[in-house]
Symmetry: C2
Subunit: 312 residues, 2 copies
């Protein structure tokens, strides 16, 4: 199945990604085997671009426009839309079909939503694995787009080679609040819907935030702030050029290798934690654990002591 | 400090909650000691109400209106606003001040935002602990409101005594997508902004979802679907009455005890997992781990095998 998927069979690829999504032993086997598929000159390696920002900022539309840019350069692109809270966005169900519209007949575009509700660390473990599968399947670019905006989603979007934060005009006050979080993950900002009033102000606010924070980013990179209108495609080429500039900067400075190693270290930690969590669930499924839970629920015991008891 | 906090010192309470938010050893000490504070007839026990739903659904406004209801009954109320992705919502910075407006001089209202960015399992561990502190401080009701909507946030909001899902008219298609996720956590639905067109349709769609799913909820409870306009306060009393009905239903059926035990078991598992994650971080911080991360980043090793190596 994996062989077919990596050789270009789209249905097989979708099935492999479902295995990754579901986690557990099958995901583990995919993970172990996907690394064995490589070209003569080494493993295939797609470049990942994270696209995140507030709900309604126009991330999907921008992603679609970027697909057009990438295809214009004759390259292959996959989109991984992270939608773990699909109760509210409807992304996983509506998204794939609606969005494939423009590119449904193009074999060099692959769009996939991912919703790993329920298991802790699910998305954080599954997303990098899915990216590896898509890389091995020969996609030059992998766009990782968040649909909802939660703790895990923002973290995962930040775990990419280039991370794009999409905002809108009139963002005003939020800029201040946003400061800490955005500075950490943004390699470039896009003020989307820039044909609306307040675009220049939003741009200026972001630039001032960057000034104030004194952030120059990794290896002296200052995140550019670009204006664009994803719905019409205006300035989307400039956004794509900026992604290319950041990529070139990182490749020249050695920052990309460094970044990917940090990311791999983080991934190993999360995978290890997920495995330990499985052990934890075994520990907490017995009758002794049920008694402790009862005592905690009744306010007779604090959960920290309960954990000590279980480990002791 | 904890003694002062539980005796009614608001500044002390805010500081204790900051300790809980930050995690680690101080949080542990708070957790162990808060259980020791109890009245003659047992531990103080607030009733928790989760309020979740899509961004922009009007959750904060509804929460504010519910505060008014609760105060009208002469009871004390605390709000815990979960805002782990404050980069985008601005909740943690803007929220507390703006929202305190109505109730700033009322000692029986306490509003607190929580943002535990960064550490995995942070919010899932910190939120129940914060609830316990607020319970011990004598608040009759603790409203747990999500600001962002991500995997963890929805889970935490679902870990309450009564969980309310807020939607808007015109939700249409999303209802379908929402099905699975909402059925799992909703004890009642509020169609907010019900003065807009499409409110009756939204209500009917939700009722139909409930019919189709065959869900009667725990102990035969069918989640009611209420219409309200939080901005004007219209029908907010009916929402509050429905919360009371669900509470009474659970208290009579024994479902509340059962639910709290399940929740305690889940909390112990998460806490145990967080502790194991700490161990994992120690395991993955050495030079051997760095080598493995390099191999994974270079595509020479899959992360699953790296984890095996670290544990071996």
């Amino acid at each position: 199945l994996l062989g077919d998927a990596l050789a270009g069979d789209r249905a097989a690829l979708a099935r492999v990604l479902s295995l990754v999504e579901r986690g557990g032993e099958p995901a583990r086997q995919v993970g172990a085997q996907v690394g064995l598929h490589r070209d003569a000159d080494g493993p295939r390696r797609g470049y990942t671009v994270g696209i995140t920002g507030a709900p309604g900022a126009g991330k999907s539309t921008l992603t679609n426009a970027l697909i057009g840019e990438i295809r214009g350069h004759g390259q292959r692109v996959a989109v991984l839309a992270l939608d773990p809270s699909s109760p509210f966005t409807g992304g996983a169900l509506l998204g794939d079909r609606v969005r494939m519209g423009d590119h449904a007949l193009d074999d060099d575009v692959f769009i996939r939503s991912m919703a790993t509700r329920g298991h802790l660390g699910g998305l954080a473990v599954a997303a990098p694995e899915a990216v590896r599968v898509l890389s091995a399947a020969g996609f030059d670019w992998i766009l990782v787009e968040t649909v909802g905006v939660g703790q895990v989603e923002v973290e995962v979007a930040g775990q990419t080679d280039t991370t794009m934060v999409v905002v809108n005009p009139g963002w005003g006050d939020a800029v201040q609040a946003a400061k800490a979080g955005l500075m950490e993950i943004a390699d470039l900002f896009v003020v989307n819907k820039a044909d609306r009033p307040g675009a220049a102000e939003a741009q200026r606010d972001l630039e001032r935030m960057l000034d104030l924070s004194g952030t120059t980013g990794e290896g002296g990179w200052r995140p550019p702030v670009l204006l664009a209108v994803a719905t019409t495609g205006d300035h989307v080429d400039a956004v794509w050029t900026a992604v290319g500039a950041h990529r070139a900067h990182q490749e020249e400075s050695g920052g990309l290798v460094e970044r990917r190693r940090r990311r791999a270290a983080e991934e190993i930690t999360r995978l290890l934690a997920a495995r330990l969590l499985n052990d934890a669930r075994r520990l907490t499924s017995g009758p002794e654990a049920a008694k402790l839970a009862e005592a905690v629920a009744d306010g007779k015991l604090d959960p920290w002591t309960a954990v000590d008891d279980l480990l002791g």
